[in-house]
Amino acid sequence: MYSFDYHKPASLSDAAALLGKAEEGKLMAGGQTLIPTLKQRLARPTDLIDLGAIAELKGIKEEGGALVIGAMARHADVAASDVVKRMIPGLADLADNIGDAQVRNRGTIGGSIANSDPAADYPSAIVALNATVHTVKRTIAADAFFTGMFETALEEGEIITAIRFPRAEKAAYAKFRNPASRYAVVGAFVARTGGSVRVAITGAAPSVFRWTEAEAALSANWSAAAIDGLSVKADGLNADIHASADYRANLVKVMTKRAVLAAG
């Protein structure tokens, strides 16, 4: 790790001020990706601004029929939350399968989606559940949030405050994990919300994407069998030593079916 100055502001305004002053500032949420990155000397911030002490970013609650999760909610908190389990149990399941127990005790939903790792789990839920990302400046619709590999619609210094999920009728996540890293090789989140079906796939491509053919098929017939007739093209899918594009294409279909089965 290179040397940096560490700050732990108590409010969003202090965080913004520190970030503004820093030569090269970096926000840290749970740090479960950032700290390994720093240890490998792949980033060299002059200032590290820890969001861990900002009360406004915490909490999980029901608000106006929607589920609102503070950006600094830990994965373990989401997984264990009675509110989440009651409103969108598939989301609690997803959180319960991110990384390992120790990662879940530190990692946060805001940090995860701000990082936009193509193999992260949460982006699929954000998109499939048609969530809204709230920041210090504005709200961003799920479909506009993830713009590419490690890229989001967030502007320089824009801090996520919360994510608002409409309550889904059916929702579930099925993940084929990388056996080494435990990230998603392919993860499929299916959701039916207000009669509208969304299928979001993470891990398979440079960024989370909606599988619109599956959405149409499931809109017509909410069953795993509805997926059988579909095929997924390997073009543009990720390929690495763990999974080729062909194999990922197969997994998109298999995991989507399993998610539908899990959603009931």
Binding site: A180, Y247, V254
Partner: protein, 783 residues
């Protein structure tokens, strides 16, 4: 009555208290006064000529005390390989120069270029980025079976065809003749995938030079501190042996990777004198991936000839073994003498011929990793047997039975050097079949099929050669060392015991098992015994721990030392009890005049030996005896594993649904510890079969699986619990009757798992059987 903490008891481990409370003392836990920290600059290229190195900016960086490169370390002798292999044409193997810090070329990603020594680790690492190395990047040769291709780049300019040796074993003519009369020939191409040992404690070293004494101390993560001292003295020339102390304290796993003498400890030790302060290096996991000696990496073609009834007539094997960029300490013997002599397996095979080409590539050195040659041999013979049985429509268990060496045929001489000492292969197989409910398999397979899953069952009946090794025998085969072991038993005046061993424990539980030997042989309870190991200034010279040798060889040395203690104690007891020496019996810690109740405890004898006021004439005071034990033969543990898998054809995911291991390790001292060794070995074997694979980019030579993000270590949720059982056929040639248990699981499991996977999918495939590979094998889209 036998003591409750002696041989045969599942005594809970003495060493656990400190490990469970965070009080273990591993190398990185030590800090020497005035200590500096080292960081090694490593090659980012697989193959490059070094045009020049500028360390000026690094030397001027904050906290930096000094920087050394290959040009500064020419006084250090090169790193050695201790086993000379002779090619089939009679020429000696070609060992390329192996400098502690690279001089002319770097030969793999992670090769050592410079050491930066600074006040703190961060300062050393920061400064390493300021070293300017001018590399002329060369084309790399990476892939095992391309190393000898015409036009391949040469790892060592002077070694043609990247070939260290072309070695053979066995009778070619007899083997050819066997194939000529075969009714059936089975042929397989087999890849034994490269593995990274991954002891969880990374390697570390502290070099500490004492200018007043002109002597060195090295703290290091070693499985064999005396061997390290010998090599560092005699070959690297750091200091004469009497001026060098090597301490290997608690060591967090080895699995072979900590046998070897590496550049890091060599250079840290040397540098401590240059800078006049202790120099500490602690590797991180990324460095372990790059620069710990890797394991396996064979490409093999095997053919087996059978008569019509399935009787094996002959076996022919050609293996290309990747040795990496340099010969590591014992690299040369692993794919030769630790491999081909085991190709006979548990079977009567009249003719065997094996050829092994050892090749250099621009990859990390490859050396012994748990099993070392024996897993590779077992994998070949057991895949061949299983495949032959299926091809010939003979039940694989029955095929094995027909070919096993029968229990009444021992000692059994194979056509490839080894004389098997004892075994009950049929009995072990039968117990494994019963425990695995082999008879019920078809019903289970049908039940899986009804759920859309593929079920398979596979066997592995393995043999291994342990208790390494009879010195004269290995010397005749090229070994540069003897492979005996030492022990010293010291009674203190108050009657408790210090037991010194040349073995080294790094997970095996010697502090407990060896104490149990003292309990049984001398009648001193284990809580009155302290086992001392891992310090060349405390323990007698010993060869260390590897090759499942510690009990068979080191334990035998302890028994010998105990016998000497008893012999001397008998003289003292005879004097004190006023009886003839011949009338004194020793049992359960007491010297008794035969046929009477007149007795002296061994503690009383020890006291008398140290306070010899009333003492036999001509007997030396004190009660301390040493012994060295050189085995007369290898030991030959054997066993059968049965693995049952279920495969999801949609994803290719393999789940192990049942795993049985019946092992014959000879006499068992501590069943709990033995079973633990079996469990751990099995999971390393499962890891090789299903999960682990060290992958280099075939062009650039970059290690693609350089961390736990990409190299799949078996985790708790990847494996099942196991059903293990023991059959005890004593080893006939060592005093304990023990054979060794440390490697069996890892030796056998790759074959048992792959035999099950290939049974399930009905096709041959290579390890590791990752989900995608299995999925492709099922769906016919091989990559």
């Amino acid at each position: 009555m036998a003591p409750l903490d002696g041989i045969g008891a599942s005594l809970r481990r003495k060493e656990d208290q400190r490990f469970l409370t965070g009080k273990g003392r591993y190398t990185d836990d030590f800090n020497r006064h005035g200590q500096l920290h080292a960081y090694f600059l490593r090659s980012p290229h697989a193959h490059a000529r070094i045009r020049g190195i500028d360390t000026g900016r690094a030397k001027a960086a904050p906290g930096v005390v000094d920087v050394f490169t290959g040009a500064d370390t020419k006084a250090i002798g090169g790193l050695i390989c201790g086993w000379m292999i002779t090619s089939k044409d009679g020429t000696p193997m070609k060992a390329g120069s192996h400098r502690p810090l690279a001089e002319d070329k770097v030969r793999y990603v992670g090769d050592h270029v410079a050491i930066v020594i600074a006040e703190t680790y961060n300062e050393a690492k920061d400064a390493a980025e300021l070293i300017d190395v001018d590399y002329d990047v060369l084309t790399a040769v990476v892939v095992t079976d391309k190393a000898r291709a015409p036009g391949a780049p040469l790892v060592h300019d002077e070694i043609a065809k990247n070939t260290c040796y072309e070695w053979s074993l066995g009778d070619k003519a007899a083997t050819d003749a066997a194939f000529a009369k075969a009714a059936h020939v089975t042929k397989l191409d087999i890849v034994n995938n490269r593995l990274v040992p991954n002891a969880i404690e990374p390697r570390a070293a502290i070099g500490d030079y004492d200018s007043g004494m002109d002597s060195f101390t090295l703290y290091t993560t070693s499985q064999n501190p005396h061997v390290a001292r010998l090599v560092l003295s005699a070959f690297n020339g750091i200091a004469p042996e009497h001026k060098l102390r090597v301490i290997a304290p608690d060591v967090g796993g080895g699995f072979g990777s900590k046998i070897f003498i590496y550049a890091e400890e060599t250079v840290c030790l040397w540098a401590s004198k240059q800078v006049g302060r202790p120099v500490k290096w602690t590797g991180d996991r990324s460095e372990a991936f790059l620069a710990d000696a890797h394991g396996r990496d064979h490409v093999t073609t095997a053919e087996m000839a059978m008569a019509r009834d399935g009787t094996i007539l002959g076996l022919r094997v050609h293996t290309t073994a990747n040795l990496g960029a340099y010969l590591s300490t014992f690299a040369s013997c692993v794919p030769t003498y630790l491999y081909a002599p085991l190709l006979s397996g548990q079977y009567r095979i009249p003719a065997i011929y094996a050829e092994v080409d050892g090749v250099y590539t621009n990859t990390a050195p490859v050396d012994a990793y748990r099993g070392a040659g024996r897993p590779e041999a077992t994998f070949v013979i057991e895949r061949m047997v299983e495949t032959a049985a299926r091809e010939m429509k003979i039940d694989p268990a029955e095929f094995r039975r027909r070919n096993f060496v029968p229990a009444d045929a021992f000692p059994y001489q194979t056509p490839v050097i080894m004389t098997y000492d004892s075994g009950q292969y049929h009995k072990v197989l039968d117990e494994a079949l019963t425990l695995s409910d082999y008879a019920g398999f078809p019903a289970r397979k049908a039940e899986s099929a009804a759920r859309g899953k593929l079920r398979g069952i596979g066997f592995c009946s393995y043999i291994e050669a342990c208790g390494i090794a009879p010195s004269a025998a290995v010397g005749s085969l090229g070994a540069g060392v003897g492979l005996w072991e030492s022990a010293k038993v010291r009674f203190n005046p108050t009657g408790n015991v210090l037991l010194y061993t040349g073995s080294h424990q790094h997970g095996q539980g010697h502090e407990t098992t060896f104490a149990q030997l003292i309990s049984t042989y001398l009648g001193v309870p284990t809580d009155q015994v302290e086992v001392i190991h891992g310090d060349t200034e405390k323990t007698p010279f010993g060869m260390g721990t590897y090759g499942s040798r510690s009990l068979a060889v080191g334990g035998s040395a302890i028994v010998k030392a105990c016998e000497k203690v008893i012999e001397k104690g008998r003289k003292i007891a005879a004097h004190l009890l006023e009886a003839a020496e011949g009338d004194i019996e020793f049992k359960d810690g007491k010297f008794t005049v035969a046929g009477t109740d007149r007795a002296k405890s061994i503690q009383e004898i020890a006291f008398a030996a140290y306070v010899p006021h009333n003492y036999p004439q001509g007997v030396e005071p004190g009660l301390e005896e040493s012994a060295f034990y050189d085995p007369v033969n290898f030991t030959f543990p054997s066993g059968t594993q049965v693995c049952e898998v279920e495969i999801d054809p949609d994803t290719g995911v393999t789940t192990i649904v049942n795993f049985v291991a019946i092992d014959d390790f000879g006499k068992i001292i501590n069943p709990m510890i033995v079973e633990g060794q079996v469990h751990g070995g099995i999971v390393q074997g499962i890891g090789q079969a299903l999960l682990e694979n060290a992958v280099y980019d075939p062009e650039s030579g970059q290690l693609l699986t350089g961390s736990y993000m990409d190299y799949t270590m078996p985790r708790a949720d990847d494996v099942p619990s196991f059903k293990v059982g023991l059959v005890e056929t004593p080893c006939p040639h060592n005093p304990l009757g023990v054979k060794g248990c440390g490697e069996a699981g890892a030796i056998a499991a790759p074959a048992s798992v792959m035999n099950a996977v290939t049974d399930a999918i009905g096709k041959h495939m290579q390890m590791p059987a990752t989900p995608e590979r299995v999925w492709r094998a099922i769906h016919g889209t091989a990559v």
